[in-house]
């Protein structure tokens, strides 16, 4: 088949017609990626406001929050947050952030947009599944938001929804009724959506690569999305039946998770013999891989961006890929470390402690490769590369506390304290968000055809970077001082002296949150008024930079690229510029190691 007939047939689905097929029920992976990004943005703003409410309540427990009485007049009478409502805020904050931000933004949003382009495909393997996947995620989001406004109170069981209280229904108190049911429903829908999404990512990567795009020639970001899809496929496949069983316990009176003779609110529950630990096992079997679903895409994105800024490849392309793979593999063997204080057999604790320490090895290798590659390079300082560096910093700072928590004897003391809160916010939450920021600054020109404002981007970086440390570093101190988590007020004598630290954190959180207005302004302003973006503003080598900004609806305008090179041909002597694009047939002189590095 010759090139012309190839081009004429290059239409996997006809060009979309009309507003609805173009922008709403679109089959185009690029639109779907943007939709995921928009949803994640909505979720992150909501989640951030919820965290502000929590922080405000912790330090000014009796003062009314302006406007809150309109939003939650039963849960927060006169705008004063009740203890139950505090737990609701915590539950909703965690659920929104983990599922709708950390899973959606780095993986579903950027993965959808750039995975097909980076491997030279015109769309995902199953565009209809892709569309369904987004709209089910949106439905899950709506159901969860509905839970925030139900009459008997939003869910209060935390994002982990531990039974038995999460499984017995309204008898367990406000927020355990309709709100908790909606929570379970929302997560179940989210699971199905994520399964469809992961299926698409895996099939696309395996089957739709352009000619010459071998697996090892895929950019690190694509590798990370692919590995994440493999993790997500198996993790959400476990959470889905678990949610199903929890909903059955709540609605159909089964006893999967509720033990016999349980007395709640002075009433014996009509359940028999269920095991609350069973839920914890099922949940954390999903829950720990979920951590890697959030962080692995960010690792890939950050590597991709750092290489571009360093103008040379990482010390080892392959070792990064193998490390990401081993992270994915090991993430399935460590779930028990979330349950050290749940009454597990001490031998099991030991068995889970060992792989938890082992999993730090690939993380350390990755960190060493990043830092070793950065050593002595002339880094191009952009907002994207700054956020990528920030990611490395936060990942190390948050990861180091993981060494302590991996050991049951230490974890028993720290588990229910702010130490853990600080740990996972730094290593998973803020680090992954920094990955998303880096990706936004890096790929915005490609997605919207306009440049973002670099000066605002750098101001945004420094405020957010310093702010993140100011917020989360003191958490570790609080934890070591014995400050328990999930308390809505600190009235105990030993907690009173810690209140100034809390006040400091709250102010830092409000300020850092306010600094995000700069980002939002930059995002919206650049979308409409930014400088028009050239095709390849960062002088990058991978396939997404061989197409116009923004790419046409079938990505390559009918001309599927042929790939000749490894993804990161930077610092090539004798090349125009210092780089060679992946699809350039130009020969690359083989030079000794020292010459390249």
């Amino acid at each position: 088949m010759d090139e012309t007939s190839r081009a004429s047939q290059a239409a996997h689905h006809a060009p979309p017609q009309g507003f609805i097929r173009n922008y709403i029920f679109s089959l185009d992976h690029k639109i779907i990626g943007k939709q995921y990004y928009g949803l994640a943005l909505l979720a992150v703003l909501t989640g951030m406001v919820l965290s502000w409410l929590m922080r405000i309540h912790l330090v000014w427990p009796n003062s009314p929050v302006p406007g809150l009485k309109w939003l939650a007049h039963t849960s927060a009478p006169n705008g004063v947050i009740t203890p139950e409502y505090y737990l609701s805020l915590m539950t909703m904050h965690g659920t929104l952030m983990v599922f709708f931000v950390l899973t959606n933004a780095p993986f579903a949003a950027f993965g959808n947009y750039f995975l097909p382009i980076q491997i030279g495909a015109e769309d995902m393997a199953f565009p209809r599944f892709n569309m369904m996947s987004f709209w089910m995620t949106f439905l899950a989001f709506c159901v969860l938001m509905a839970a925030l406004f139900v009459g008997d109170g939003p869910p209060i069981s935390g994002w982990t929804a531990y039974p038995p209280l999460s499984a017995v229904g309204a008898v367990a108190g406000p927020g355990q009724g309709t709100g908790q049911t909606l929570w379970g429903l929302s997560i179940a829908i989210f699971c199905i959506a994520s399964l469809l999404g992961s299926l698409n990512f895996i099939s696309t990567t395996l089957d739709l690569r352009a000619r010459g795009m071998t697996l090892m020639r895929m950019p690190l970001s694509t590798w990370a999305w692919f590995i994440t899809a493999c993790i997500a496929l198996l993790a959400f496949a476990v959470l889905l039946p678990a949610c199903g069983l929890l909903i059955l316990d709540r609605l159909a009176g089964t006893s999967f998770f509720v033990p016999a003779n349980l007395v709640v609110s002075d009433q014996i529950q009509p359940h028999s013999g269920g095991s609350p630990l069973l839920w914890q096992h099922l949940f954390w079997f999903f829950g720990h891989p979920e951590v890697y679903i959030a962080i692995v895409p960010a690792m890939g994105i950050v590597s991709h961006i750092l290489i571009n800024a360093m103008r040379r490849p990482m010390l080892s392309h392959k070792v990064i890929i193998y490390s990401l793979m081993s992270l994915g593999f090991l993430s399935y063997m460590v779930w028990g470390h979330h349950m050290f204080v749940s009454g597990m057999n001490p031998l099991s604790s030991l068995m889970f402690s060992f792989p938890t320490l082992v999993i730090t090895i690939p993380s350390t290798i990755l960190t060493l490769i990043w830092i070793g590659s950065l050593y002595g390079c002339k880094l191009r300082i952009t907002s994207a590369s700054l956020f990528a560096l920030g990611f490395v910093s936060l990942f190390v700072s948050g990861g180091v506390s993981g060494f302590f928590l991996a050991q049951p004897s230490i974890d028993v003391l720290l588990h229910a304290t702010y130490f853990v809160v600080g740990h996972f916010h730094l290593v998973m939450g803020v680090a992954a968000i920094f990955g998303v920021f880096a990706a936004t600054y890096f790929w915005f020109p490609k997605m919207f055809g306009r440049m973002m404002n670099e000066r605002l981007g750098k101001i945004h970086f420094w405020l957010t970077f310093v702010g993140a440390y100011l917020i989360f570093m003191p958490f570790h101190y609080l934890g070591m001082a014995g400050n328990v988590r999930r308390y809505s007020a600190f009235v105990n004598d030993y907690l009173q002296p810690l209140l100034p630290v809390h006040r400091f954190i709250t102010i830092a959180a409000l300020a850092t949150g306010a600094a995000q207005i700069i980002f939002l302004y930059n995002l919206i302003h650049s979308r409409f008024r930014g400088e028009p973006a050239p095709q390849n503003p960062w002088e990058a080598t991978s396939l997404e930079w061989t197409v116009p900004s923004p790419p046409p609806w079938d990505n390559f305008a009918g001309k599927i690229p042929v790939v000749y090179h490894d993804p990161y041909q930077y610092g090539v002597k004798g090349a125009t510029g210092d780089y060679v694009m992946q699809d350039s047939p130009q020969k690359i002189p083989t030079v000794p190691e020292e010459g390249r590095r």
Binding site: M1, D2, R6, Q9, A11, H12, H13, A14, A121, E122, A125, F126, S198, L199, S203, D207, L208, R209, A210, R211, G212, T214, L233, L234, A237, V238, P241, A242, G244, L245, L248, A252, G253, T254, S255, F256, P259, A260, S272, G273, G274, S275, L277, L278, H281, L282, D554, I560, V562, V563, Y564, H565, Q569, V572, I588, T590, V591, E593, R596, R597
Partner: protein, 228 residues
């Protein structure tokens, strides 16, 4: 890092089989095109993607049932309220029906391959007939599972009665849902075949899924038989 130049695979024009699929609906998309170098793996082709997609989906389904199995084992050991449930007799019949449906689907597939090889457009009837037989057997199986639930119900065993009955209903219902999905796939395949627009890989993908549902049922049946 020493870099060598990797040439892309050389393009070898290949004579295409005359009856290449997929002209029936929508004029064929870019994934319907035949790769110019004869390698289906190197150039995107929807047909291989549908097969890969089914395998990936089956991996997820396996994981879900593994989770339910481990839940069953843990739940059985966690308290002394586990009661023995005699499996309804009709399940043995259902098992036979489902196994038979796998065979009839294979008959359909064999006949379709022969058809594709001979290139005759008229004789789609033969594979189609076997597909319809498979469809009816599948429906019969789902109906049989429903009969099994009625039998349990008549013994006073409901979803929440005992933990073992809970697991019986959950496992059979989740499996039946997946079988219904497979039936949808078979309906899609037979409508494609009626319009002479069926690709072999689509049929293969659907039949892999169907056989997997068969094997999954045999596993579940054994599990229920041993554990309940």
């Amino acid at each position: 890092m020493a870099t060598t130049v990797h040439e892309p695979p050389r393009v070898r024009p290949r004579k295409l089989p005359s009856r290449k699929q997929g002209t029936g609906s929508g004029g064929g998309g870019w994934r319907d095109r035949t790769p110019s170098d004869g390698s289906f793996l190197a150039v995107g082709d929807r047909s291989t993607a549908s097969k890969t997609g089914v395998w990936v989906g089956l991996a997820a389904i396996t994981m879900s049932f593994a989770a339910l199995t481990s839940a069953l084992v843990v739940r059985q050991g966690s308290a002394a309220d586990w009661q023995h449930v005699t499996l309804p007799r009709v399940l043995y019949l259902n098992t036979l029906v489902l196994v038979a449906s796998s065979f009839t689907l294979e008959f359909a597939r064999r006949r379709f391959s022969r058809l594709a090889f001979l290139g005759s457009g008229e004789a789609t009837a033969s594979p189609l007939r076997w597909l319809y037989v498979t469809l009816s057997l599948g429906l019969l199986f789902v109906g049989g599972q429903y009969a099994a639930w009625l039998q349990l119900k008549s013994q006073g065993l409901y979803l929440a009665t005992t933990p073992s009955s809970s697991f019986f209903y959950v496992l059979t219902a989740v499996h039946a849902l997946h079988v219904l999905g497979g039936l949808g796939g078979l309906i899609y395949v037979s409508s494609k075949l009626r319009r002479s627009a069926l690709r072999k890989n689509t049929l293969d993908a659907a039949s892999h899924y169907w056989h997997f549902m068969d094997i999954l049922w045999l596993y579940l049946f054994l599990l229920l038989w041993v554990k309940l």
